[in-house]
């Protein structure tokens, strides 16, 4: 539950050690170009020196997440300085990114783009591609508290504004300690896949596992079709370890027969529910791999439970979905009823998580902090729990089975999406017309968003164009239905089952 590992010993020192021990080994392969640990070290020194010469008050620093060495080096440089990063996606609507800058009151943005979208309004932009080389600047600064932030990730919020989850150095240290205790082993000879946007926390696992062990991290450039590029990396570069979303494998499934994934030693499936039938097929082309299903909300630092699959064995499932297993070493996971009491084995309730991986809260959001966390005594100790909103039960062995969401949230391509946020922006455009969004699984078992509008049919292009200026593309509904009047259920609420039945 409580990790005695700290951020220096389990994150920063091992990365610096990799730079020292393996100067000529590759740290990154980005867009087919390899960068050695020596080059990474030089780039970190350059950015850190420039940071020391910059004037900024706020230790939370915006980072435009381009797919390049400067962006990754910036993360390490910020951490060495005791600062944290707030990722700003180059393809997200500027308005959404500026909202994030404003919420966190950023006064510095690190940007490697040729033409930055930031500047003015009290924000200083440091172009990390244009700064001069600097002498080595890789020593540790030991006065940074474990309670300082490491990053803030913004996720979809039901009020129409993205909400920021704060993760501290202690959170990350506890996570890395938990991760290594699962028994996954990586060394400097490994080649690791980094298939996630830096706005999404599985990216942190992906680069940290590689960099703290001297392994090489293979990224996916923006503008590439992810599943195809990933399959090329796995085949051409003989990737040995990687975390993937099951949907990526779902897209690749038609090609499994010709796909050589024999180099994979270990593969993590995460970010979405993991179907057993897909895994059984995947074992056939990733013949040498151990498969793991990892689960966790951003609020509990990347992952908080895991299940190791056994090939050809009896893997536990519920409705075809693989168990999310047991809590990681530094996590407590309980299934609680509505009054916060633990439920007996086999009974469904909300999965709640405590321990050193749990976030200290949402940035500047007292209401959400009040409702999302609570104290509960466990074995005589007061622990702070997070409401995951996931409906689960534990079986007799203590393995957790995932049954669905308690609320109005869905995972689209691995990203958390609040239906309320999409509804909010559509209603804003439509001048208050009734709008309901529902997530559904299509015939390929992929989650899509359907939007129902209480209106006559109209051309939705203008509305969709407006919504694209407010939200990332994965949040834009793929189906629109026009309903003259929404049916109500016995509680006088919009009957979502009726709407759901309209989805073709």
């Amino acid at each position: 539950m409580y990790s005695n590992m700290n951020f220096y010993d389990i994150v920063l020192s091992p990365i610096l050690e990799s730079i020292r021990r393996f100067p000529l080994r590759n740290a990154f392969c980005i867009d087919e170009v390899h960068y050695t640990y020596s080059q990474l070290g030089k780039c970190v020194s350059k950015v850190r020196t420039a940071l020391r010469q910059s004037i900024y008050q706020n230790p939370k620093v915006g980072l435009v997440i381009n797919d390049d060495l400067e962006t990754y080096a910036s993360i390490i440089a910020l951490w060495l300085e005791g600062d944290s990063y707030v990722p700003l996606h180059p393809n997200w609507p500027l308005e959404r990114c500026l909202d994030i800058c404003e919420q966190v009151e950023l006064d510095l943005v690190l940007d490697s783009s040729a033409n930055s979208r930031y500047g003015g309004g009290g924000i200083f932009v440091l172009n990390t591609k244009e700064i001069d080389n600097a002498p080595d600047c890789l020593e540790l600064k030991y006065d940074v508290s474990e309670d300082e932030l490491a990053y803030i990730l913004f996720t979809s919020g039901s009020t129409g504004k993205p909400k920021g989850v704060m993760l501290t150095r202690r959170n990350i240290a506890a996570f890395m300690d938990s991760f290594w205790k699962t028994g996954i082993e990586i060394n400097e000879k490994d080649r690791c896949l980094q298939a996630f946007d830096l706005t999404f926390d599985v990216s942190v696992q992906s680069y940290l596992v590689a960099l703290t062990r001297g392994a090489c991290c293979y990224t996916i450039p923006q503008g590439q079709v992810k599943y195809i590029y990933a399959s090329t990396l796995i085949e051409d570069h003989k990737i040995t370890f990687g975390a993937m979303a099951p949907s990526m494998l779902r897209y690749l499934q038609p090609y499994f027969e010709e796909f050589d994934a024999t180099s994979l030693k270990a593969c993590i499936l995460t970010a979405e529910a993991c179907p057993l039938n897909l895994m059984e097929e995947w074992y056939k082309c990733a013949t040498n791999t151990e498969l793991y299903d990892f689960y966790g909300p951003t609020e509990c630092t990347i992952y908080c439970t895991y299940y190791k699959l056994s090939k050809g064995g009896n893997n536990k499932t519920l409705n075809g979905i693989i168990s999310i297993g047991k809590p990681l070493a530094n996590c407590v996971g309980l299934i609680l009823d509505e009054s916060g009491d633990e439920l007996p084995t086999g009974e469904k309730g909300e999965l709640c998580i405590a321990g050193d991986q749990v976030t200290k809260g949402y940035w500047n959001n007292p209401e959400k902090n009040e409702s999302s966390f609570f104290l509960k005594e466990v074995d005589g100790k007061q622990m702070r729990f997070y409401h995951t909103g996931d409906l689960c039960y534990k079986d007799a062995d203590g393995d957790i089975m995932y049954s669905g969401r308690l609320d109005h949230q869905a995972k689209i391509q691995g990203f958390r999406v609040e239906m309320g946020e999409i509804e909010y922006h559509a209603r804003e455009f439509l001048g208050g017309k009734n709008v309901v969004c529902l997530a559904f699984d299509n015939k390929d078992a992929l989650t899509e968003i359907a939007m129902f509008i209480e209106s006559k049919e109209f051309n939705p292009n203008e509305m969709l164009a407006y919504m694209r200026t407010k939200m990332p593309s994965y949040m834009i509904p793929t189906h629109i239905y026009y309903v003259p009047v929404f049916a109500l259920n016995s509680n006088d609420k919009i009957d979502k089952n009726v709407l759901k039945s309209l989805i073709k």
Binding site: Y255, D444, N461, S473
Partner: protein, 80 residues
Amino acid sequence: MNKNEILEKLTPIFRKELEMNDLVLTDELSANDIDNWTSLTHMLIMTKIEETFNITFKLKELKKLQNVGDMVTILEEKTK
């Protein structure tokens, strides 16, 4: 099939899946240019193309596709 015939069939597929009614296909157009051209839409586009042209792609072929021009070339080959 020649290039024009192929483009005539491709255009409505791309317009529908990318939700862009006025999209004009050019040889250089790629996922890099269109935010909405994600793994999901790419997969949907490929499935539609396979149905429309009554062909199937190999993974090796999909890997070579960097833009619409590559797509046209490969379809010219496959519909010969």
